[in-house]
């Protein structure tokens, strides 16, 4: 009996040792596989036998739009399932969505703290800066690169390298309530005089022309984005280059204030107490006929009033129709951290965002515009309307100003609205701010 016991225990031990060794071998295998996966993603999926232990990996993703939390959570789940089924990798996605006002500080703390998320969203204007500090992976060689529309690709490329995956890309101008326009017998304005007339007629009919929601400074900033963009693209194409060379001034484009004044004087009251979301909801409910806001607001507008008949037109800057243009821009983009421990999976996720099968549903659910060939969903009428301008050649690429200058514009317009600063002061402050930003970026090089 005693012998028997000994033998059994020996066998048990042996089994244990063997199974441990087997486990060890598997881990070795899977880690060895890891290196190859980047080059040959099929390698792992070749023999996903039932017995093979799935490789485990964590992926942390940080995004700046908590309003789409549900949609992205679902998408991450789908990705996890797909990875397990197709590649035998058990991925655990940690999706973080700090509120947008905290986003930059959290992201920076992470990046400098050597604790970068594997994927994270940044504004397309920051791509250059993040690339210079080595925080972005070149995605040119990935499958996704071939799917993105060329005009969008330009906005996320630096020196021919595709550095981030565009997510929100829009053609935008001024949103207007088609029903109100129709009722007043109005057509879309193409010059400043026509815009003034639109305001006049609307007021006569008892409508407030513009909805103003200036509580968050990025909303008034949209006015400078449109007016400077239109003015410069139509009349002063070298202005921005000269600004970057310390050889230009906002005084050259001072007529942008003509249209800004028209908007502010014909707007709803209590603009500083109105947030952008509340503004969208009010616009949807017909509180005003026009709203200077990108098409990204359509989600809120349409949930508030699904019956809304909305259109988009290009904002006239002056009486030169060449300046009446639609703004083409990419705001949110998704970057991949190059030193990620699971770079292969991070890249897989990036590719999955433009997945042939699933991507359309995600983009449609979030109300994003199509940015790649895989997006075959029917776009909404207002998006089509904006792209009609683009097809007619009446558009420009969003100007990339130093982000400090952009912020400053929004702040100054808030103060301008409440009467705390004059046009001349704004011109001077912005000139100074631009020079300061130039100086800083030179110092950084």
């Amino acid at each position: 009996m005693k012998k028997m016991k000994k033998i059994i225990s020996l066998m048990v031990t042996l089994c244990l040792v063997l199974s441990l060794a087997a486990c060890g071998k598997k881990t070795v295998n899977s880690t060895a596989g890891e290196g190859n996966i980047t080059k040959a993603p099929e390698a792992a999926s070749e023999q996903p036998t039932e017995k093979a232990e799935p490789r485990e990996a964590e992926l942390s993703i940080m995004m700046s739009f908590p309003q789409y939390m549900d949609q992205w959570e679902t998408y991450c789940k789908q990705f996890e399932d797909k990875m397990l089924a197709e590649e035998n990798i058990k991925v655990k996605v940690n999706l973080e969505m700090p509120s947008s006002d905290q986003y930059d500080s959290v992201l920076q703390a992470r990046l400098t703290g050597d604790d970068a998320p594997d994927l994270y969203t940044i504004h397309s204007n920051n791509i250059k800066t993040y690339n210079e500090t080595g925080y972005l992976t070149d995605l040119s060689g990935e499958a996704l690169a071939g799917k993105i529309f060329d005009n969008v690709k330009k906005t996320v490329s630096v020196d021919g390298k595709l550095l981030a995956l565009p997510i929100e890309s829009t053609a935008w101008g001024v949103l207007y309530n088609k029903d109100i326009f129709e009722e007043c017998g109005l057509a879309v304005p193409n010059t400043l005089d026509e815009l003034k007339n639109v305001c006049k007629v609307l007021k006569e009919k008892g409508y407030t022309p513009f909805l103003l929601a200036y509580q968050e400074q990025w909303v008034p900033q949209l006015m400078t984005a449109l007016t400077i963009g239109g003015k410069v693209s139509g009349e002063l194409p070298d202005w921005l280059d000269r600004m970057y060379a310390d050889n230009g001034s906002y005084s050259e484009i001072s007529d942008i204030f003509d249209v800004i004044d028209v908007i502010m004087q014909n707007g709803t009251e209590r603009a500083m107490e109105e947030g952008s979301e509340a503004g969208s909801a009010d616009f949807a409910n017909g509180k005003a006929a026009m709203y200077l806001q990108g098409t990204w607001a359509s989600n809120t507008i349409m949930t508030t009033n699904p019956e809304m008949n909305m259109g988009v037109y290009a904002l006239p800057i002056n009486n030169n129709e060449a300046c009446t243009l639609i703004n083409l821009s990419t705001s949110t983009t998704l970057g991949v951290y190059p030193d990620s421990e699971n770079l292969d999976i991070a890249l897989k996720f990036a590719n999955y965002v433009l997945d042939d099968k699933d991507s359309s549903a995600l983009f449609q659910a979030c109300g994003f515009n199509p940015i790649a060939t895989v997006h075959d969903y029917e776009t909404s009428s207002w998006v089509k309307e904006a792209y009609q301008y683009v097809e007619a050649g009446r558009s420009y690429q969003d100007l990339v100003l130093p982000s400090a200058v952009t912020d400053e514009q929004g702040k100054l317009l808030q103060v301008y609205y409440v009467g705390g600063v004059t046009k001349e002061e704004i011109t001077k402050t912005l000139d100074d701010k631009f020079k300061e930003a130039n100086k800083l970026s030179k110092a950084a090089e």
Partner: protein, 276 residues
């Protein structure tokens, strides 16, 4: 009571009640409107809700992962404040009783950084947190809170102990008690009033702190209550009824804490601070 006195009394009461109404107005408004649908809310914010709908609450309770966030915050607060108290009572006592140059220097070092704004040490602090691998660790974060709170706590203990006669300790030392025994048997019980004050103000501080968890807790399973509430602001920024119910939900634990311990809290604030 004279007539003049009575009128005076009445006036004071009226003024106090009016002021009190103003004081509670935001909380009452938030509470009242949190039961309405957003449409109802936007049409009339002053009307009483027509039905006591709990929809908003059920929705936000689930969205916030209320239970989990609550337990996380509880763990963080208890551990953090607990360590803070034990550590600073020990330090405060010896710092007060030791009259050497070294003691003065250490005390000054503790007091020195009391006024440093958090924002200026945010990133250096974050780096340390990474070095110790305590990111996303509630236990680790409670050490950080202890480190942040000891200055003030030591300052208060130091001031309080100054007022305790030295004779008791001396007598105990004569009897052959060592310092640790003296600390636990004699000092700690005498510190009770100031300990309660310190504990309470720090419980409220840690419970209500926002920025530190924001940069150190990235795993949403470790989120504190305020972080979970904050996520909702982004998600429902135009839906005040949802926001208000989230505000009420995250205020409830503090209000209950206050209701239960209000005597100690108020006494603690008064005594602890006055004697500091």
């Amino acid at each position: 009571m004279s007539k003049k006195r009575r009128i005076q009394n009445l006036l004071v009461y009226t003024a106090l009640i009016l002021l009190l109404f103003f004081w509670l107005f935001p909380i009452l408004m938030a509470l009242m409107n949190s039961f309405k649908s957003n449409k109802e809310l936007l049409t009339n914010v002053m009307a009483l809700p027509t039905t006591l709908k709990l929809d908003n609450y059920l929705r936000t309770f689930e969205k916030m992962h209320y239970q989990r966030s609550f337990l996380n915050t509880l763990l963080l607060t208890t551990l953090g404040v607990g360590m803070m108290i034990v550590f600073s009572a020990m330090a405060g006592w010896r710092l007060c009783r030791t009259k050497t140059r070294l003691s003065q220097i250490i005390f000054a070092l503790f007091i020195f950084s009391m006024l440093i704004p958090f924002s200026s040490i945010m990133i250096p602090l974050y780096k340390i947190i990474l070095v110790f691998h305590i990111k996303n660790s509630l236990i680790g974060l409670s050490f950080v809170y202890a480190g942040f709170g000891v200055s003030m706590a030591i300052f208060l203990y130091h001031g309080f102990i100054k007022g305790i006669p030295f004779e008791l300790e001396e007598a105990a030392a004569m009897d052959g008690c060592n310092k640790i025994t003296i600390f636990y048997k004699i000092i700690l019980p005498m510190l009770k009033p100031v300990t309660v004050a310190i504990a309470i103000s720090n419980v409220l501080w840690v419970w209500n702190d926002f920025l530190l968890p924001l940069i150190t807790l990235s795993d949403n399973k470790k989120y504190s209550l305020l972080l979970s509430t904050n996520i909702l602001f982004g998600q429902y920024s135009s839906d005040w009824s949802a926001i208000l119910s989230a505000l009420i939900l995250s205020a409830i634990p503090v209000i209950i804490f206050y209701a239960v311990f209000q005597r100690q809290i108020l006494k603690g604030i008064g005594e602890g601070a006055v004697k500091g």
